[in-house]
Symmetry: C2
Subunit: 201 residues, 2 copies
Amino acid sequence: MPRWEQGAEERLREAALELFTEHGYDNVTVAQITERAGLTRRTFSRYFADKRDVLFAGSDRLPAALADAVTQADPELTPFEALLAALERVGDAVAARTAPHAAQRQAIVDGSPELQERGRTKFAAVADALDAALRQRGASATSAGLLANVGVALFRTAFDRWVAEPDAATCSARVREAADELTRALSPRGHASPSVQETRT
Amino acid sequence: MPRWEQGAEERLREAALELFTEHGYDNVTVAQITERAGLTRRTFSRYFADKRDVLFAGSDRLPAALADAVTQADPELTPFEALLAALERVGDAVAARTAPHAAQRQAIVDGSPELQERGRTKFAAVADALDAALRQRGASATSAGLLANVGVALFRTAFDRWVAEPDAATCSARVREAADELTRALSPRGHASPSVQETRT
C-alpha cells in the first residue's frame, strides 16, 4: 500500500459521513466522497462495495458473530441466558468498533427510508442466525424463533441507548438493563414494580 | 356494481394466489390475474393498487388497529397487559379475515425477498404505532419501544403458529402461549421450567 493511502478507509468513511450529513445520503456520489478524501475511486472500491457499504461495513458479520457467541456461551446457561450473554459480548464489540461515528451514522440512517430498510434486512438475518443457534442449544423449534426476535429487540434497544449516551453506560450494561425492564414488564401483577403498584392502591 | 362483478374482489384474489403459487410471484402480471378471473383491469384497479396489494390489502390498517386496541384496553391493565390484550383481539380479527388463504399467502411471501421486505416494513410501522400507544398508557419513553418490538415478535410468532395449524388453537390462544413461553424463558434460574431444571440436576 502506498504511504499516502495509509488510513484511507477511515478518511473515506469520515468524508462520506460528513457529506451524507451535509447534503443528505441520497444526494451524495462516490465521486464526491473520493474527492473530499483526496483519494481515487479505485481506492474506494478496495474498501467499500458502494456508498451504502460505508454505513454497513462489518454488519454482514453480525449474524455469525452473534450466533457463534450463543453457541460458545457457558453450556450451563439456559438458551435465553446464552442469548443475553451473546448480546452483551457482541454489543460491546460493535460499540467499540463504531464508537467514533455511531451517533452521526444513526442520524443518517434514520433520515433515509432506503437505509432503514437495509437495517431491517440486516436484523432479519440476525434473527435467523440466532434462531438456528438457539435450537442448537436445545431451545424448541417453536420458541427459538420467538427468543431470537426478542433478542433482536433487546439488542437494538440497548444499542440505541448506548448511541444516545455512549458515556453513561456500556452497551452490555444497556443489554442487561433492557432485559431487566422486559422481565419486570412481563411479571404477573403480584410482582409488578412499585410504581405500578402505587397507581393501583 | 354490475351483477357480474359481484364477488369480484374475492375472484381476483383467488386468481392471483393461484397464479403466484403456480408460476412464482415475480412471473405473474396483473393482466394474467384479470384474465383468469374473467374481469377487467379497471375492475382490478377498483380493489387493488397493484399485484402486491392483493397480498397486503388491509395491512395498512394494522398499525392503527393495534394501537387503538392498546389505547382502548381496560385502564387497570399495565402497559404490557394492554399490549397483550390488543394482540389477542386484533390477532383473532386478522385471522378471521385471512383464514381461507392464510397458508397459501404465507408460502408466497416466504418465497419472495421483495415480499418479505414489504412484510418487515409493515411490522416496522406496527412497532412505531404500538410504541406511541404504549407511551400514552404510561410506559416510559425508553421501555415503550422495547415492549412494542417484543409485541411485534409475539404477534408474528402467534400468527405464524396459527397459520401452520389453524384448527389447533385460535390466534389469541397462540398469543398467550407465546407470552407464557417468553415469561418462562426470562424467569430467573430458580423459577426455570421443570425440563430445564432436570438437565441441571
